[in-house]
Amino acid sequence: MLSSPAPVPESSAAAIPVRYMRISRHRRLAWIASAIGCGLSVLGLVLCWLNPAIASPLKPGLDFTGGTQIQVERLCQSACGELSVSDLQKRLNSLSLPAIPGEITPNLSGTSVQVLDGGRSLVLRLPALSADQSTALIEGLTPVTGPLKSTGTSVNTIGPTLGSRLLRGSIISLLVSFAAIAVYISFMYNGVFAFLALLCLAHDVLITCGVFAWLGLLRGIEVDSLFAVSLITVAGYSVTDTVVIYDRIREQRKLLADLPLIDQVDVAVDATLTRSIYTSLTTLLPLMGLLFFGGSSLFWFAVALIVGIAVGSWSSIGLAPTLLPVLSRR
């Protein structure tokens, strides 16, 4: 598979840099790295699916499972007293919520309680509650938690059908946009270019999902609707990044028409390498800011984007251009 580059003819020597990075020399390494990345991701997704506690490729959050999530902030200026999760559980079990005529009052014993920020705030995950019931529950917590900050409370109740609707909508819109992009690229370039752009895109999305599958397995990180948004962002970035390199390859095919495609690709990748690295860097900088200053609600969103964009830059340098000569020959 690894072919040595053709000798450079005198005539086009001027257009080829004297020393440049030949990506095709390292392509086997690039393919192996990507294959390992994809393999590990698939493994993570499968392990997640086989895990009886998760039973789906990614650990679904409230947005996809439905239910009620209550976050409260305790009103304690300097130091909050210790909070024991078992005390809270006991308190929850003893609460009686206002009943809705004709419906069974949800059982609170399966509530998951999470204490955040050193006991400052609490996150409860419950079966779906009505608005009245959530209010009653928050009021019922105060004997254990002490006074709560009225402005720091967030209650989310989501019906189980809503998440699947969101997921279906996102997937359909993504697939349609992929198809439209594929048509555009086949029109401006050719079918092989379009196929490889989509392959890279699938690679980037797969690895981002894989990272979150492992995070779900090892750290219990759940995916929410913002994760779906980040996947869409990664997909958009991945295609744009690839198309810029395609544009250079198209140009080199005219300038270096007498050279084999593999050399044209190498020259194009080398010429755009600085740009590719700078662009990823400048896109990653605001995201790094989001990661470090963005607060807890956006932390995992930033992680998903950073992983996806890093992988996206990699695939548009190491994957699409190196596969192009191989597939075009057939």
């Binding site: 608005a131 900050k149 909508g169 996102s170 349609v176 958009g236 400048t282 896109t283």
Partner: protein
């Protein structure tokens, strides 16, 4: 040169207009950034209707809008989503419980007459109902419950556990394990109301014939009545209905959403003509809030189809404010670093691009306030991605300019060629981005839509700023001979000897 000045003037004018727009209209922040409640209502098909059509969705929306206005929540918005959902946003509202209760019920009001021969059963049920209601009212935290209107109010009404259990058993109810006493009484009450409705004849009059609804406090006690006014047809029907049962001892039933809310006897004196005049009142011992909510529901009319609340999101303002502060800080610090990076790597054009990108950010915000785009967290994500792409456009251009300079071209020529050559890749990248935006916008749901809108605006503006702002500013600077030095673009070591 004159063309350059024209562009610069145009860009300046745009910048001033954007600033003015932002200052007058400001930015609309989504609920995730400012705090408030959001309810998603699903319209359920019922009866002969198996699929919710657009007109039915609009009809439901109309009724809900009237109810929301009755509630008096400022700045609320109600939007249809997809084919069968409505999203209600209540900014600043921290306790959506009441809104949920008022919006969620169908509010189908029915007037029925008791069937002959059911008097005995009715009496038993009513006794049970009064008992249960009294216990619940006593449990309710209310400072003064002077029920002097009732014939013989016990000082503290109580239902002995064994009596309660017996009553429940007699009605054929099984109590879920571990439910509290008030749960059991609620259950009992629901069943009793259901049975009472079973003793009535067909519906003779509905809320459709209502023209007005109001409430008034009872002469004694803290309870309220809800008053009703009928149109002419309704008034006639009501008169016929009351005439048919006047003096018989049978009751007039007022049923809301299949639940009996009031049972009234009609006196002998109405035997001749019924209760005429087109007015009635529901004496249901309502609290002030209950009376007001019922009035709002009745005035808004009944929903043509039932709705179900499928999602309630509440975010406290401090969580929202914290979100936006930290997100803004994050984005700004990241962008500042990007600016430093551009100046260090690209020197003079780097400075130009920082200026152009600042204008870009300003234009973006101005368009958000003009359309207006409601900014949410996914929207900010779209903005950050579009900034990435705008920077990419500048990087592409400057890299090309550098290449041209390295291969020995003159400065002005390099700049022109750089822009020309970078154009096709910038254009392709932006078009593919816009294609995804279109798909996401037309097919995606709420969150995804917000993302697609800000990204699309960002992409269009980035095409504009990269190709006009950066270019015009750079050309303007090049009109000063002192700045026309290749070393302001590329380190001297990378330039061919001829260019120095």
């Amino acid at each position: 040169m004159a063309r350059q000045q024209g562009w610069i003037a145009f860009i300046l004018a745009l910048a001033i207009a954007s600033g003015a727009l932002l200052a007058t209209y400001g930015l609309q922040l989504g609920l995730d950034l400012r705090g408030g409640s959001q309810l998603t209502l699903q319209v359920m098909p019922a009866g002969a209707i198996t699929k919710v059509e657009t007109e039915q969705l609009e009809a439901v929306k109309d009724v809900l809008e009237r109810r929301i206005n009755g509630l008096g929540v400022a700045e609320s918005t109600l939007q249809t989503v997809g084919s069968d959902q409505l999203v209600l946003q209540l900014p600043g509202e921290q306790n959506p419980g009441r809104a949920a209760k008022v919006l969620g019920s169908t509010a189908l009001l029915e007037f029925k007459a008791q069937r002959p021969g059911t008097e005995k059963e009715m009496q038993g049920l009513l006794r049970l109902k009064r008992q249960a209601e009294a216990v619940l009212a006593a449990k309710r935290p209310q400072p003064t419950t002077t029920d002097s209107g009732l014939p013989a109010p016990p000082p503290k009404p109580k239902l002995a556990p064994e009596d309660l259990a017996m009553s429940l058993r007699s009605l054929g109810l099984t109590v879920p394990e571990g439910s509290s006493e008030s749960d059991q009484i609620e259950l009992l009450l629901a069943e009793v109301n259901h049975r009472i409705v079973g003793l009535y004849g067909p519906t003779l009059l509905t809320g459709k014939d209502l023209t007005s609804a109001g409430r008034q406090q009872k002469a004694t006690g803290n309870f309220w009545d809800v008053t009703l006014g009928f149109n002419r047809e309704g008034g006639e029907k009501f008169a016929t209905l009351t005439q048919s049962i006047a003096g018989t001892g049978r009751l007039l039933g007022i049923v809301l959403d299949g639940r009996s809310i009031s049972e009234a006897s009609v006196g002998e004196e109405f035997k001749a003509a019924g209760i005429a005049g087109g007015a009635a009142s529901i004496t249901g011992n309502f609290t002030a809030d209950e009376a007001r909510d019922l009035e709002v529901q009745l005035r808004g009319g009944s929903l043509p189809l039932p709705v179900k609340i499928v999602e309630v999101r509440t975010i406290g303002p401090s969580l929202g404010a914290e979100n936006i502060r930290t997100s803004l800080l994050a984005a700004l610090s990241g962008l500042a670093l990007v600016g430093v990076f551009m100046v260090v790597v690209y020197r003079l054009p780097g400075v130009v691009s920082v200026l152009a990108l600042s204008l870009y950010a300003l234009f973006n915000l101005a368009v958000y306030s003009l359309i207006p785009v409601t900014l949410t967290l996914p929207g900010i994500a779209g903005f950050i991605l579009s900034v990435g792409m705008a920077v990419d456009a500048n990087v592409l251009i400057f890299e090309r300019v550098k290449e041209e300079l390295r291969s020995g071209n003159t400065l002005i020529r390099s700049i022109d060629t750089g822009f020309a050559r970078a154009f096709s890749s910038i254009f392709d990248g932006h078009i593919t981005g816009l294609i995804s935006c279109a798909a996401l916008f037309f097919l995606g749901t709420g969150l995804v839509k917000g993302f697609a809108v800000t990204l699309a605006i960002g992409l269009l503006l980035s095409l504009f700023t990269a190709l006009t702002c950066t270019r015009s500013l750079l050309r303007l600077l090049m009109s000063y001979p002192a700045l026309r030095r290749p070393t302001y673009f590329v380190p001297a070591a990378q330039l061919p000897a001829s260019a120095l």
